[in-house]
């Protein structure tokens, strides 16, 4: 694969490209899903190819070829070069400097998930599936997945990197229905569970079958729970919901390509401006957010990003002040600070974009119970169910699968169909408590979309329960 990348880079440079990078990628993905005691899906997919990105003057070009041979490498390079020339661009495009180096990296793991038999994976799911049985349950679902991405990156700036990233995860969902009411509970997260980089040990740690009876009981109990009433009150969210709140209202708005408008036609832009760096008050003093592609187990963990920039931890929000953007080499050069390091491509057939890596809400102190103890009257919400945020990442609305009243520091009645809404900096300004390190968990999302053509990214968020005052909850149609 290294030689194929070199062939592609040579071909594009010879054609006249001023910068070239090539990624040869082999991806394998395996998933098992059971539903109501039967195997609903059992898939094992692989995809491979080479993607070549070139700069010709000020114009980018990208082309790819599924053939991992010299002919495919040259063809992708030549097509990328010709595409760049055809599109033309008037601006000069500078790239932040990168150090020439050669490196390798592999996800540390205990047990290769592809060495675990499919039969064992099916059995693992069926065990959890069976444990979801209960009154009013209409859907039991269990899922495990594994992904291995082997990629070689080589650029005309002298970076050669070979990486093998392996991730694994799973989850359970349980739906209950009665009298026209439908409710879903999931563990550890909704939307295809949660994953981490690592081996089969990640799935075993989840304890899906152990958690299943509680999940089923809560799904059924929600059918009889009152709807979360609309009001302005104190809101406490669990780590899962805090993770998505960080994702949507901190992660995406701090992507510098969005701030420069290059995502305007799809996912949108940002309320942030380049000049806000170092001065904009994003939230309260309790708000600290860090981007860290070196986090053990993170789905956004790597040694080098997809334009050859080494991984490094960087603060994004410190004590409530915006102090960092997520950048590429191009956007870093444009703003005049940083080195890039957040460029990621879904696979060999997509151009890298500025993406989140692992973006964490840093812990403070105390437990969830400590956060609740200081609430006389409020709502505690757990496990994301729905999400939406406007194109500038200001006005958001989230729903959770389950909620409880908080009365005099304790959880009270269960509530269903809980939602809350807010405006990003106002909402984060109302953050008055963040739980401590013991409550910190890593949540892995595998459905982050961006780009045209669309690309999915896998990102992680370390998060803890958090408390916000004066939040509008209970929004309904």
């Amino acid at each position: 694969m290294r030689d194929l990348c070199a062939t592609a880079v040579d071909a594009a440079v010879t054609a006249g490209a001023t910068y070239v990078d090539a990624r040869a990628v082999i991806v394998r993905h395996q998933s098992v899903t059971t539903k109501n005691g039967r195997v609903d899906g059992l898939t094992d997919s692989e995809s491979e190819g080479i993607g070549v990105r070139v700069l010709v003057g000020g114009a980018w070009g990208f082309a790819c070829d599924r053939r991992l041979d010299a002919e495919g490498a040259r063809a992708a390079a030549v097509r990328a070069y010709e595409f760049a020339r055809a599109t033309g661009t008037v601006s000069r495009r500078a790239l932040a400097p990168v150090e020439a180096q050669t490196a390798t990296y592999r996800t540390p793991l205990e047990r290769d998930p592809f060495e675990v038999s499919i039969a064992d994976k099916v059995a693992h799911c069926l065990l959890a599936d069976d444990a979801l049985k209960g009154a009013d349950v209409v859907l039991r679902q269990a899922m495990v997945r594994a992904r291995r991405e082997h990629k070689v990156f080589l650029s005309s700036d002298g970076v050669e990197v070979e990486q093998e990233l392996i991730e694994c995860g799973g989850g359970i969902d349980c739906a209950a229905a009665r009298d026209g009411v439908f409710q879903l509970r999931s563990f550890p997260s909704a939307h295809v569970g949660s994953s981490e980089q690592g081996g089969w040990e990640v799935v075993e740690r989840l304890g899906l079958a152990r958690e299943a009876p509680r999940v089923a009981e809560q799904a059924a109990a929600l059918l009889r729970a009152p709807v979360c009433p609309e009001r302005v009150t104190t809101l406490v969210v669990d780590g899962d919901q805090a993770a998505l709140q960080v994702h949507e209202s901190v992660g995406h708005p701090t992507e510098l390509d969005r701030i420069y408008g290059t995502e305007a036609s799809y996912a949108g832009t940002s309320f942030l401006k380049p000049g806000d760096l170092g001065s904009l008050r994003y939230g309260s003093e309790q708000m600290n957010v860090t981007a860290d592609p070196t986090t053990a187990g993170g789905l956004g963990t790597f040694a080098f990003d997809d334009e050859g920039v080494p991984a490094r931890r960087q603060p994004v929000v410190e004590r409530g002040v915006l102090t960092g953007f997520l950048t590429s080499r191009e956007t870093a050069a444009r703003i005049g600070t940083g080195a890039g390091g957040s460029m990621r491509a879904e696979s060999w057939n997509r151009m890298p974009l500025v993406r989140m890596t692992n973006l964490h809400l840093e812990p403070d102190e105390g437990s969830l119970d400590d956060l609740l103890a200081d609430v006389d009257d409020g709502v505690y919400m757990e496990t994301n169910k729905s999400w939406s945020i406007d194109d500038k990442r200001l006005n958001f609305q989230f729903g959770t699968q389950i909620a409880w009243e908080i009365k005099k520091g304790k959880l009270g009645r269960m509530l269903r169909d809980a939602t809350y809404t807010g405006i990003t900096p106002e909402f984060w300004g109302r953050l008055d408590a963040v739980a401590g390190r013991d409550a910190w968990r890593l949540y892995g999302l595998t459905n982050c979309g961006k780009g045209q053509p669309g690309q999915g990214a896998h990102v992680s968020h370390g998060a803890v329960p958090a408390r916000f005052r004066d939040v509008h909850v209970g929004v309904s149609a």
Binding site: T33, R38, V39, G41, L42, T43, D44, S45, E46, E48, W60, G61, F62, C64, D65, R66, R79, E82, F83, A84, A86, T87, G88, I118, A119, V122, L126, V138, A175, A177, G180, F182, Y260, G261, T262, A264, S265, G268, T269, N349, L353, S386, W387, S388, I389, D390, D391, N395, Q397, G399, D417, T419, T421, G451, Q452, P453, G454, V475, S476, A477
Partner: protein, 451 residues
């Protein structure tokens, strides 16, 4: 190698009870921002999904290595998956061959567009607007083929083209899009001009109080709202799992009598498709007729599980991507008697005019509740006229309520792209008119138009 050849070769490599689905894509997408191209992407791929059946045990494997070694390997992985799977008592068997309809959807001129052409057509959009533009032009030729040990052997080549433009500066933004299977039907310059004209009317936007409003929804907005409703409510799996709004409501009046909704994959004015991912012939499916719920779309698996005699309607999703079950991917809402959106504004008197929506989320599938925001062209309607611009608005609506009291629909129907081009290029869209509703629930205020 064509997709049809790859499907047959994969089937031969499996040499057992099996079904091979091959998909080939050759596409170019020229994405621009600030009137400059920044993400030009050429994709050329061919992948095969092999579903092997071993005594009602089913395994699926996919590859894009379509040489002999690659196909032998994918066959081995599919067989291994099947061998490790328990017997699926609900497996209906592989589809039997059936004649597929003759459909349009292939335009050789579009298939022949190369990177130079795609770049030129994008530049036409860039040059046409008097504002900075953000968007893309894309075109593709793709081929879907299904071959099975039961004798299915079908393939379809299809083309598609889309021009999409957000025209925006610091104080205004507008949107337009055009989709067709014939690129000659699309004028990227006209799309850009429509977006810019809209953007220039959005300056100095004001807010409105949250509450329930009458509203005119342009086809862009209505198509996306219907698509999100369809995810849970218009497919057989949603019905079986009781998350569909139509659960228990088939045969009853659910919408205004002006609402007639179908899935119409054969329509030559849409993106015609002849068969689904099992090779089953597609057909028009009546979903709602004059406000009465008539049914949903099915594939063979869900039809079999329903145990009430329903048959597949030719809506099998790709193997391994069927989490939500069969999907209505060619929604078609019958037009009404209004000559224009201006006439719809006259009919509502006072309310909102909404061009498009952004980042929708399903809040409550069973009740069809969806949230999102408006974007790139929201206006106040006052005294029957489209009046001043509004900031982006958050809405939380029950789609059935939006469709329950309808002031009218336009006679003209537009094809609206619903694809974001994730994964393989399975392009789909909805054909819808503009619609005026008496109820659209605004629950929050967002930012002003502009980049």
């Amino acid at each position: 190698m064509t997709a049809a050849e790859a499907a047959r070769a994969a089937l031969a490599a499996a040499d057992c009870e099996a079904e091979a689905v091959a998909h080939a894509e050759r596409s170019g997408l020229v994405r621009f921002a600030g009137s400059e191209v920044h993400q030009p992407t050429l994709i050329d791929n061919l992948e095969v999904t092999l579903r092997v059946v071993d005594d009602r045990r089913v395994g699926v494997a996919t590859t894009n290595r379509v040489d002999a070694d690659g196909l032998a390997a994918v066959a081995a992985r599919a067989r291994a998956a099947a061998a490790n799977a328990p017997v699926d008592p609900d497996f209906p068997g592989l589809a039997e061959p059936a004649p597929v309809p003759e459909v349009e959807g292939l335009d050789e001129r579009t298939a022949g567009l190369g990177p130079d052409d795609q770049a030129r057509l994008a530049s036409e959009a860039i040059a046409a607007a008097d504002l900075p533009v953000y968007g893309f032009f894309t075109s593709a030729v793709s081929e879907l083929a299904v071959a099975s040990s039961t004798g299915v052997d079908v393939s379809q080549r299809a083309t598609d083209a889309v021009a999409l433009v957000v025209a925006a500066d610091e104080t205004g933004s507008g949107y337009a899009e055009a989709t067709a299977w014939q690129a000659d039907e699309i004028d990227p310059g006209a799309v850009a001009r429509e977006a810019a004209e809209k953007a220039n009317r959005t300056r100095n936007a004001e807010a409105v109080e949250p509450g329930s409003y009458a509203a005119v929804l342009e086809p862009y907005a209505l198509a996306e709202l219907l698509q999100y409703f369809a995810f849970d409510s218009l497919g057989g799996l949603g019905l079986l799992e009781e998350r569909s709004y139509l659960s228990g409501r088939i045969g009853t009046t659910v919408f205004d009598e002006q609402i007639t909704l179908s899935d119409d994959p054969l329509n030559p004015n849409g993106l015609p498709r002849a068969f689904d991912f099992e090779g089953v012939p597609k057909r028009r499916v009546e979903l709602v007729s004059s406000g009465v719920a008539r049914g949903v779309v099915w594939d063979r698996a869900t039809a079999n599980r329903s145990r009430n005699g329903v048959q597949t309607t030719g809506h099998a999703p790709p193997a391994g991507e069927g989490e939500l079950g069969p999907m209505a991917t060619a929604l078609s809402l019958t037009g009404g008697d209004a000559e224009s959106t201006d006439e719809l504004a006259e009919r509502i008197g006072d309310g909102l005019y909404i061009t498009r929506l952004h980042y929708l989320g399903v809040v409550d599938p069973r009740e069809g509740v969806v949230t999102g925001t408006t974007r790139d062209g929201t206006f106040l309607v006052r005294d029957g006229k489209i009046a001043g611009p509004l900031v982006n608005l958050r809405f939380t609506v029950s789609v059935p309520e939006v469709l329950r009291d309808v002031h009218g629909l336009t006679r003209d129907v537009s094809l609206v792209n619903a694809s974001q081009f994730y994964g393989p290029r399975y392009v789909y869209g909805a054909r819808v008119p503009a619609l005026a509703t008496s109820r659209f629930h605004i629950t929050g205020i967002g930012g002003a138009p502009g980049i």
